[in-house]
């Protein structure tokens, strides 16, 4: 099957004052793939995906989604058109129940589709991450791992075409990580996944292609094996 470009960026630059946080000449995410973005702390990974999903505007460059230029599109419209983002810092609604947390994105999807049931959709998302039996509990009372899973469920309830996960396994126990890998493989059947991840075993288990960022630039891109062998990547990670 030939790769179909779904989300791409050209000449994407983001400056914070004098600091060039992101400077990506060309990036293409293909439909249906699982892509991991890795890189040392401060490499600009979160900033880069935040530009893709519109949390802030780029200083320069162009972003295309399914053939449309979305550079100027506000974040909420990008989400509505199918790009979902789950936050690195758990960003759930702590005072609301788990159900209410996922009901919001479910409700958005149902409105956009012009049909469907919020309740079914919300419960299906909770079911997928294994939190359905806790739907009435308050989000802030959950363990950190469950809050991370709820965050992912909120993304899933949106029924996105591209799901951007920002360090989803941070703080999860080993047993939870194994379940998480299974979950993402399942989700990837119908959704393109862009994953920022520090946990190398997770990256190696899931990613078909890895993009390595360093100091805002793409240092290398390739299959997990190729990246593992890449000398420049080893230098960036281990120090040269």
């Amino acid at each position: 099957m030939a790769a179909v470009a779904q989300l791409s960026a050209e000449g994407l630059v983001k400056d914070f004052g004098g600091l060039r946080a992101v400077d990506v000449a060309a990036f293409t995410l293909n439909k249906g793939e699982i892509r991991a973005v890795i890189g040392p702390n401060g490499a600009g990974k979160t900033t880069f995906v935040s530009l893709l999903c519109g949390r802030f505007p780029p200083t320069a460059g162009r972003i295309t989604f399914e053939g449309r230029d979305i550079t100027a599109m506000p974040a909420h419209e990008r989400v509505a058109s199918g790009i979902a983002y789950t936050f690195q810092i758990t960003s759930i609604f702590g005072n609301l129940s788990l159900y209410d947390n996922v009901a919001l994105p479910a409700q958005r999807r149902v409105t956009l589709d012009g049909g469907g049931h919020v309740r079914e959709r919300a419960m299906a998302a909770l079911e997928r991450v294994g939190l359905a039996d806790r739907s009435r509990e308050i989000a802030s009372s959950q363990s950190y791992g469950h809050q991370r899973l709820l965050e992912v469920a909120m993304g899933l309830a949106l029924g996105p075409k591209v799901l951007i996960l920002d360090e989803p396994t941070q703080g999860l126990a080993d047993s939870e990580i194994a379940d998480f890998i299974t979950l993402i493989r399942e989700v990837a059947q119908e959704t393109t996944i862009l994953l920022i991840e520090h946990n190398m075993p997770v990256v190696m288990a899931l990613a078909e292609t890895i993009t390595v960022l360093d100091q805002g630039r793409i240092l290398a891109e390739g299959t997990p094996d190729a990246i593992r062998e890449n000398a420049a990547v080893q230098t960036a990670y281990l120090g040269g």
């Binding site: 949390r55 974040a75 909420h76 989400v79 960003s91 759930i92 609604f93 409700q107 919020v118």
Partner: protein, 331 residues
């Protein structure tokens, strides 16, 4: 949902049942409280549910009050259509102010709404030829009728206030339990997250602000026709602060908090100015031989103390605390 409908029906029924047993004095008070509770209910939609603190709601109250009262005074319209004009004035003010003020957040929003309200207040004073400025003007008893009912009659006035309050209470309960209401609460909790779930926060905040302004305007217009007076003091800054205090006391983000807060604050001020503070002034005079005429009228001091205690020990307000400790389903 059923419990919520029962609870609100019960409160409305209780207010109906109180009518024949109230003394003349409390009768008038409660009619006034219900009108002011409409104002507080509107304020609560924006502050309690959506998390936007406006310091300029007096301009919406005044837009309703003057929109209605000036139509009666200058154009000699009857109460019904004049009331509608008042509400429309508040609606337009809400849309215009919303489009401009909602570009700011947090303290910026507070300051912009405060400034708009100040400009509205000064405008009322400036056109004192029509508005009679601070002094205000009365609306003759003879024109305060609707459908043949005399609105200055205490019973009619009570039920008119109750009708308006019930409509706003039910509307507020329906909004906050709707899908849009869920988004409003989510904006209060975490606006950035709401945006990343595909909602446009601006649209929802504008909706909340306009609904809030319409209720404030309905309260202002009702105040003018039920109590026969319109004056610039209702547009002054303290009338922007009052609904905030009522809502804080009763419980922000609870449908019945605004009513409870308005009742308690009204009677606290009443009791403090009529009994406590004059008593305190008398005691100071007899005990220490110091004449303190200012103390007798310093009832706001007591209100201030009550509020400081409230914010320190029950920041969720009375019903917010009840919800957190006892009745989690409280709407």
């Amino acid at each position: 949902m059923i419990r919520s409908i029962l609870l609100h029906s019960f409160v409305i029924a209780a207010l109906v049942a109180l009518e024949p047993v109230l003394s003349e004095y409390h009768h008038g008070n409660l009619a006034r409280i219900m009108v002011l509770a409409v104002y507080a209910t509107g304020y609560n939609l924006l502050f309690g549910y959506t998390g936007l603190l406006s310091l300029g709601h007096a301009m919406f109250f005044a837009a309703g009050m003057y929109g209605c009262a000036l139509m009666i005074r200058l154009a000699e319209w009857s109460v019904g259509p004049a009331f509608v004009v008042g509400v429309i004035c508040a609606l337009i003010a809400g849309i215009v102010v919303g489009f401009l003020a909602l570009r700011t957040i947090g303290v910026g929003f507070m300051i912009v709404t405060l400034m708009f309200a100040e400009a509205a207040y000064l405008t009322i004073l400036y056109y004192n030829e029509y508005t009679r400025g601070d002094e205000g003007f009365t609306i003759a008893q003879s024109v305060r009728t609707i459908g043949g009912l005399d609105l200055s009659d205490t019973t009619t006035r009570y039920f008119a206030a109750l009708t308006l309050f019930s409509i706003c209470l039910i509307a507020s309960a329906a909004v906050v339990q709707s899908k849009a209401g869920r988004v409003l609460v989510a904006i209060r909790e975490n606006e950035d997250r709401v945006r990343m779930l595909g909602f446009d926060p601006f649209r929802y905040k504008l909706l909340a602000l306009v609904l809030s302004a319409v209720m404030a305007g309905a309260a202002g217009a009702a105040y003018a026709v039920l109590f026969g007076y319109a004056g610039a003091s209702f547009a002054a800054v303290q009338y922007s602060i009052f609904p905030l205090l009522w809502v804080l006391l009763g419980g922000p983000g609870t449908t019945l908090g605004p009513l409870l807060g308005t009742v308690l604050m009204f009677y606290l001020v009443d009791y403090a100015s009529g009994t406590i503070m004059p008593g305190l002034a008398g005691m100071v005079e007899t005990q220490f031989g110091i004449e303190a005429p200012g103390l007798a009228s310093a009832y706001l001091l007591l209100v201030g103390v009550a509020l400081v205690l409230l914010v320190l020990f029950a920041p969720r307000g009375l019903l917010g605390t009840v919800r957190a400790r006892m009745i989690p389903w409280l709407p």
